[in-house]
Amino acid sequence: MNKKRSGMINNVLTYGACLIGSIFVLVPVLWMVSTSLKTEPETFAIPPRWIPETVTLDSYRAMWVDYPFLYYFRNSIIVTLAAVAISVSISCLTGYGVTRFRFKGKESFLGFVLLTQMFPSVMLLVPYYKVLNTYGLNNTLIGLGLVYISFTVPFCSWMMVGYFKTVPLELDEAAIIDGCSRWQAFTRITLPIVIPGVSSSAIYAFVTCWNEYMFANLLMADEKLKTVSVGIAELNGYYKIMWNDLMASSVVASIPLVIGFIFLQKYFIGGLTAGAVKS
C-alpha cells in the first residue's frame, strides 16, 4: 500500500517535472514557428494569436529573395564544415598519438591542451582583429575558419583522447603483429571503433561554429561574406523589425542542428558522456 503510493508520487513528480520543463521549452519554439507563418498585419496583431488566420510561407520565400540569406547560408556551411573537418581529424590523430605511445612531454602536452580550453574567447578579440588584419585575412572565410578551429580543437582533442583510451591497446598490437603499419593500425583498426566519439566531437564542433556570433560579426564586414547568425542579428537592427521574416530565418537556421541531433543523439548522449566521465 505504502509502496504503491510512493510509486504514484514518484510518477507524478517525474512526469510533472518533464511536462513543465517541456512547456517552458516548447512555448518559445512554437511561438517562433507560429510567427514565421504570419502575414505582416497578423504579426503585429493585438492581442497576439497562436494560430494565424491566414497561414503563409511568404517569409520563407522573402528570406531567399529579399534578403541575402543564400550567401549567408553558403558562408556558414563552408566555414563550419571546413572547421569541423579539420579540427576533428587532427583531434583523432592526437587522441591516437597520446593514448598509444609513451613519449617525452606527453603530460605537459595534455596540460597545455586543457589550459587552451579555459581561456575566455573574448580575450582573442583584439589580438585576432589585429593579427588577421596584418596577414590580410580579415573579412575572409579562411580567417574566420581559423578562428573557429582555435575554438574547437582543444575540446575535440580532449574528447578524442577520452575515446581512444577506451579502446584496448591489444588491438593495435595484434594488427601490427599481423603486418599492419602504424598508420594502417590507426585508420583500419582503431579509428572505426571510435566512430561514436568522432560523431560527438563533430556535433560539438558543428554547433559551436554554426552558432558563433561575436567574431563573425566583428571580422566579416563584406555583406556577401556574413554568416547566418550575423544575418539574423542584422534583421534585428532595422528601424522596423519584421518579426515574421526574422523568425522564418531563425527556423531555417536552427533546422540543420535539430535534425542532425535527432539522428545522431544516440551517439551523442552516450558519446559526450564517455568524454565527460573520463576527464
Binding site: 520543463g21 517541456s22 518559445p28 519554439v29 511561438w31 510567427t35 504579426t43 493585438i46 497576439p48 587532427i90 583531434s91 590523430l93 592526437t94 598519438g97 605511445f101 609513451r102 613519449f103 597545455f112 591542451v113 587552451t116 579555459m118 581561456f119 575566455p120 573574448v122 580575450m123 582573442l124 578579440l125 583584439v126 589580438p127 582583429y129 593579427v131 588584419n133 582555435s150 580543437v153 582543444p154 591497446l169 602504424r182 554547433v207 554554426w210 552558432n211 556570433y213 561575436m214 547568425s229 550575423v230 539574423i232 542579428a233 518579426w243 523568425m247 531563425s250 537556421a253 536552427s254 542542428l257 535539430v258 541531433f261 535527432i262 543523439q265 548522449i269 559526450l272 558522456t273 565527460a276
Partner: protein, 302 residues
Amino acid sequence: MKTKSHKQEQFQPSKMSLSELTPYLFIFPVLLLLVMLVVYPLSYGVYISFFDTDLGKNWSFAGFRNYLVIFTQDNFLKNIWVTFKFAFLVVAGHFVIGILLGLALNQKKRGTTVFRTILVLPWLFPDVVIALIFKWLANPMYGLFNSFLLEHGLIEKQISWLGSTQWAFAVVVLVCIWKGYPMVLVNVLAALQSVSSDILEAARVDGANAVQLLFRIILPAIKPVLATTVILDVVWWFKHYTIVELLTSGGPNSVTSIVSIGIYKEAFQYFKFGRAAAMAVVVFVICYLISKVFRKVLSDDE
C-alpha cells in the same frame, strides 16, 4: 590509467625501433595549430595590453597604466560585479534544473525518450536565435508575455521587460538559464549511469527516504562529473556575450553590462585597444582562479 601505462611499457619497446618520432607526428598538427592560433594571439593580446595604441601606426608604451586605469574606473569594476552576479545565478539555475530533470529522466519510464529530446532542444538553437525569440516574446506592445499576463490580470499595464532597470537583469538571466541547462542535464544523465542500482536498493531497504538518497548517495556519487561541469559552465558563462548583447546591449543603465560587452565596446566603439586587452587579461586571470578554486573545493576527498 595505471594498468594501461603498464601495458604500454610492455608493448612499447618493439615499436620504438620503428621511429622515435611517430608519436610526435601524431600530435604535431594540434600542437602547431594551438601554438599558432591560441598561444600566439593570446601572448600578442598581453603585449597589446601594455600599449596605448590604435593598432595601426601609433604604439606608445604605457607600462601598467592600462591596468591602473581600468581598476580605478568604476566602470570595469562594476562590469565585473555584474558578471559575477550573472554567472552565479545562471549556473545555479542550470544546476537546479539540470539535476532535477536529470533525476526525472533517469527513471527510464515510458515517454522519457521523447521528453529527453525536447528538453535538450535549447542547447541546439543558435544564441542569436534564442536572444531574438525572447526579445520578441518580451516585446512590450506585441509580445506574448505581456498579452498573457494582462489577460490573466497578473499585471495592470504593459511592461517593457528589457527596457526597465527593474526587470532587465532578471530576464537576461532567465533566458541564459533556458539556453544553458541542457549541458548540465546531459552530463548529469551520463553520470547517473554510474550510480549502481544495488546501492540505491540497499539504502532503501535500510529505510533511507528520497531526500536522504539524493543527498547522501546520488549527489556524492556524481560529484566528480558535477565538478568538471560546474567549472566549465562558470567559465563559459563568465565570458558570455551574444545573448546579452542582442537582448539589451548591456543596458538599461548598465544593469546588464557584463564584462565581455564592456571589452567589446572599449575596443570597437571607443577604440581603446590597449585598455580592452588589459581587461581581457584580467578576465582570463579571474577565469583561471575560479577554476583553481573550484577544483580545490570540489576535489578534496577524491
